[in-house]
Amino acid sequence: MNDDLRDLYQEVILDHGRFPRNFRHPVDANRQAEGSNPLCGDRIRVLLTVDADDVIQDAAFQGRGCAVSMASASLMTEVLRGKSVGQAKALSDGVQVLATTGGNTQIPFGFEADMDRLSVLSSVRDYPARVKCATLAWHTMLAALAGQLQTSME
């Protein structure tokens, strides 16, 4: 494979794309939303368990999509656990910037390691058509937190 392809499909993306983590429906999930990217036909459901203190105790997803959208969703569920709702939104902002410019935003204190882990998603910045693949799960997560049931990447 040539190197620039390897840049988009890094091992982490391929691994999470093939073996998505937290690919399940938690019985105690209390926030959920469905997100779709009509252009690709990608569709995922994000399921969150948020406690009384607004802390995400569990994050999971289901659905299908390309390697990038599956990997992004998988990484997201790993990173979100234990975060407050506010922190989740800040991380989502960070991913949006990563995916569109490759740069870093103001990272909430203490989450450098998380952003570092998510930095593989910056590889889509050179592929305008794929940015929505990387951000679908995050938009859907925000919709779930906002109490919307559906969101679309149109």
Partner: protein
């Protein structure tokens, strides 16, 4: 695909044909471009590019208006283009050929003009499940605005039309059947002659969406006896922005104008206006003059190669690609109807269509991935998306080999 078997085919010189298409000579990401997306839009031969440029260079003025030589010359070329289209599909008269912007506009024209004038609430239109959105949405508007009932002609798991179900759907309220000649997703060639025959017997009119039809096989609208036939220039190796609506004269005559404006009137007063005769009645405003002349050049080009020869060449490529691709692990062809044109939709167990297209792009290979503007068909097939390759008259067996090699890379990346 109908191919004459009693003639000895001249050898098909694909390299000579490729030399006519300047865009095919370029490299993409360091590799020769392999263009396998002709069903989306075809590349253009020199003659088309030159014809269009030539209009602007020396033969351009507005048409049917000027009392000077340049305008008369441009008008003559524009009408000659109409005559070229008439001969191409063997329409009875040149006034049965209406230039539109695209297939989409041609279908919208029929829906808006014929549909609104002649269909009443409760009337039925039959569409097939494999239609492109542009042959669904204009009719859906009649359903929303005019109480027209849409009935769905089912396709089988192999992507072939279920003709028996169609016959069951035909009833006393069926007014129109609108159906693709060839599926843009699956390549299925529909039995339009049979559909037209049966629809007429039931008193219904038939519109054929020929966007993928005229590019793959000779079409004779009189032999088919279709009431309307629509196609685009850009899929036929011609310019964008030009399409054709063929309609039987008595139908077009009875239909009201689609758009109103300059060029389509006999007389205008504030008390009322009279329309120009066909085809001008349906060509309001300054038309796509250079594009119509470019389309005629494209038709001349395709006919110089011979559509029978194109059909035979694409059929060979289809057979070769089908054999080679079927050996790939996890390969599943979507659409295996017995009668197919040069289109292959597929999925791989291990990779999403978008990932497939992305990896192929890195190998200089252009394909389409997605729902191909046919979401009802995707739903019928239980898929969100497919990868699609489509052949044009310039594709080669070597390009199929390059495709297979690149798909092996996809397997190495995502499947191993």
């Amino acid at each position: 695909m109908v191919i004459g078997r009693n003639e000895t085919p001249a050898p098909y010189d694909v390299e000579r044909i490729r030399a006519d298409f300047p865009a095919l000579g370029q490299t993409m990401r360091g590799r020769p471009l392999v263009y396998l997306d002709t069903a989306a839009s075809a590349q253009k031969p020199h003659t088309v590019i030159e014809a269009e440029a030539g209009v602007y260079r020396s033969d351009y003025a507005n048409i049917h208006r000027g009392l000077y030589q340049l305008s008369e010359r441009t008008s003559a070329h524009y009408e000659e283009a109409r005559e070229t289209v008439r001969r191409f599909i063997n329409a009875r008269g040149h006034h049965e050929i209406v230039f539109t912007r695209s297939t989409t506009e041609a279908i919208n024209l029929v829906a808006a003009s014929y549909g609104r004038r002649f269909l009443v609430p409760g009337d039925e239109i039959i569409l097939s499940e494999l239609e492109h959105h542009s042959n669904i949405l204009p009719w859906q508007q009649l359903q929303e605005d005019g109480g027209i009932v849409i009935k769905r002609m089912p396709v089988g798991d192999d992507g072939a039309l279920e003709l028996d179900s169609f016959l069951d759907l035909l009833g006393p309220r069926t007014r129109l059947v609108a159906v693709a000649h060839v599926s843009n997703v699956l390549g299925t060639v529909l039995p339009v002659a049979e559909i037209i025959h049966r629809a007429h017997a039931a008193g219904a009119k038939v519109l054929v969406d020929g966007a993928q039809g005229v590019v793959h096989m000779p079409v004779d609208v009189q032999a088919l006896d279709c009431d309307f036939y629509a196609f685009s220039g850009h899929k036929l190796y011609g310019p964008t922005g030009i399409g054709v609506l063929y309609g039987k004269e008595e139908l077009l005559d009875a239909m009201p104008p689609y758009q109103r404006g300059g060029g389509m009137i006999r007389s205008v007063s504030f008390e009322g206006s009279c329309w120009a005769p066909l085809s001008a009645k349906f060509e309001a405003g300054t038309p796509a003059i250079a594009q119509a002349i470019g389309l005629a050049a494209a038709i001349d080009y395709v006919q110089s190669v011979g559509l029978e020869n194109v059909a035979r060449h694409e059929c060979e490529l289809l057979g070769y690609a089908t054999r080679r691709l079927s050996d790939l692990p996890g390969f599943r062809m979507i659409g295996t109807a017995p009668c197919k044109a040069g289109v292959i939709s597929f999925t791989l167990d291990h990779a999403h269509p978008h990932d497939i297209a992305q990896v192929l792009d890195r190998a200089g290979i252009a394909i389409r991935a997605g729902h191909h503007c046919a979401q009802p068909l995707m739903e019928r097939m239980g898929l969100a998306a497919t990868a699609r390759i489509s052949f044009g008259l310039y594709n080669t067996g070597d390009e199929v080999d390059a495709l297979v090699a690149a798909l092996e890379t996809v397997w190495e990346m995502f499947g191993k």
